[in-house]
């Protein structure tokens, strides 16, 4: 689906309304989301992202797996990895 990244940026923008992190206002390929937020915010981001993508694609795809909260392997440590993670899950 084209526009995955657009949806992910929108999800992060919405979540950041509660977090208020200036570093998350403009993400680049190497932005580390994981270190900027707490675990509850990550759950919120997962929910927001899953909901937005369900609206766009008509399919609910759970995005959380055992890597999400892994301190060294989480795809949220690098924005481009997060985009790839979401694309991979949606295209299974």
């Amino acid at each position: 689906m084209d526009g995955y990244e657009e949806a992910l940026r929108e999800a992060l923008r919405r979540v950041n309304e509660n977090v208020g992190s200036p570093d998350l206002e403009a993400v680049g390929p190497d932005t580390n989301v994981f270190d900027q937020v707490d675990s509850m915010t990550i759950v919120d981001l997962l929910l927001e992202t899953e909901t937005l993508l369900e609206e766009k694609t008509g399919a609910y795809v759970p995005l959380a797996d055992e890597t999400i909260f892994d301190a060294s392997a989480s795809p949220l440590r690098r924005w481009s990895d997060w985009v790839a993670h979401v694309e991979r899950h949606h295209e299974r």
Binding site: N18, M40, L47, F69
Partner: protein, 348 residues
């Protein structure tokens, strides 16, 4: 896991649940009212409501203990089934909040219920995996020859949390549930797991006789590493559920209900979607109404939301409990029109 690994898999042919009763704490606490008292902003309150499913919970109103809640459930259960306490010869109490460190609270409960002195009674110190573990023990005792065993599970968790900890305090509910297991032909299978390397993901420091310098000065309240617990759940629980269904020789479609421990709505929805379980087969609302009931969450979910189905139909169910320890376990059991009234609120 590789099936050649030695494992705690138990199969039974002559034990079954006859009834389940749950008693929850009398006091209703609404998260919208509690959130500001915890110092939470409206946005954070909304976030927690959405991610966890926090709405309200039931806690004890005064000094009631787990034993009190379980006694109320046991009396209601025995009366509802027309079973005399004198005919019960096994009582297992699964709790992290006993009346005292010693003696075992199960023995106090044995006396209060009027079980004969020829009965056996003992405590099991487990949390969210506790109902499955307790049920496995009860099935073992019945399979080995006892006619009737009570499994009592629960915690007054509201009393072992830091009221100011907004990650833990607003999720805990108080409940005591009891199931009666009796001897009759019925097939079931259990698989039980443990991993002490994750012990610090959920624990109460300075709560036993070990003095750990790392815990010096820390309050004896439940602490939780949310990320570690979340990771553990997503790593272990999907395989736990698919594994037990396979061990039972069944498919997901042949299971009538998946009654899982209820930590939060997001995790349950994730598991439901990943395992392609029909939404109506995997209840997820217990946390939102009653709070996290620890070892009582599986019977609590049945009492809270599935009583009609369990009372009126023959069912094949998968139960799965997972959490503190780390400890996890699942079973597939058959029930046939058991005594399963709605949850009782309060002791009276």
């Amino acid at each position: 896991m590789n099936d050649e690994t030695p494992r705690a898999r138990l199969r039974f042919a002559n034990a079954a649940i006859s009834g389940i009763v749950t008693t929850v704490g009398e006091k209703t606490v609404r998260f919208e009212e509690e959130g500001p008292a915890l110092g939470l902003e409206p946005g954070e309150i909304a976030r927690l409501q959405r991610a966890i499913g926090l709405d309200s919970r039931q806690i004890v109103a005064g000094g009631e203990t787990t034993v009190d809640l379980c006694e109320a459930s046991a009396r209601r259960l025995l009366a509802g089934l027309g079973v005399a306490a004198e005919t019960v010869t096994g009582l297992i109490l699964v709790t992290q909040t006993p009346d005292h460190s010693a003696p075992a609270s199960a023995i106090a409960l044995q006396h209060r219920l009027g079980l004969p002195v020829t009965s056996m009674a003992f405590d099991v110190r487990l949390g969210c995996s506790g109902f499955v573990y307790g049920l496995a023990l009860a099935y073992s005792l019945v399979e080995a020859g006892l006619e009737r065993v009570l499994v009592a599970v629960g915690d007054v968790a509201s009393r072992f949390v830091d009221a100011a900890d907004h990650a833990v305090a607003p999720i805990m509910g108080d409940a005591g549930a009891v199931a009666l297991v009796e001897r009759r032909p019925s097939e079931s299978v259990f698989e039980l797991y443990s991993d002490g390397s994750g012990g610090r993901a959920l624990y109460i420091p300075n709560s036993g006789i070990r003095v750990d310098p790392a815990d010096e000065g820390r309050a004896s309240v439940m602490t939780m590493d949310g990320a570690a617990v979340f990771n553990f759940t997503l790593q272990r629980v999907p395989d736990l559920v698919t594994g037990i269904v396979e061990a039972a020789g069944r498919t997901v479609d042949e299971i009538d209900y998946f009654v899982l421990h209820q930590p939060n709505k997001y995790i349950l929805k994730n598991i439901q979607k990943r395992l392609r379980i029909a939404e109506e087969k995997l209840p997820m609302a217990t946390q939102s109404v009653y709070g996290n009931q620890n070892s009582a969450s599986i019977p609590g979910t049945i009492s809270g939301f599935l009583g009609d189905a369990y009372s009126n139909r023959r069912l094949v169910s998968a139960f799965a409990g997972f959490g503190i320890g780390l400890s996890w376990g699942a079973c597939v059991v058959e029930t046939d029109r058991i005594y399963a009234p709605p949850a009782f609120v309060g002791l009276e």
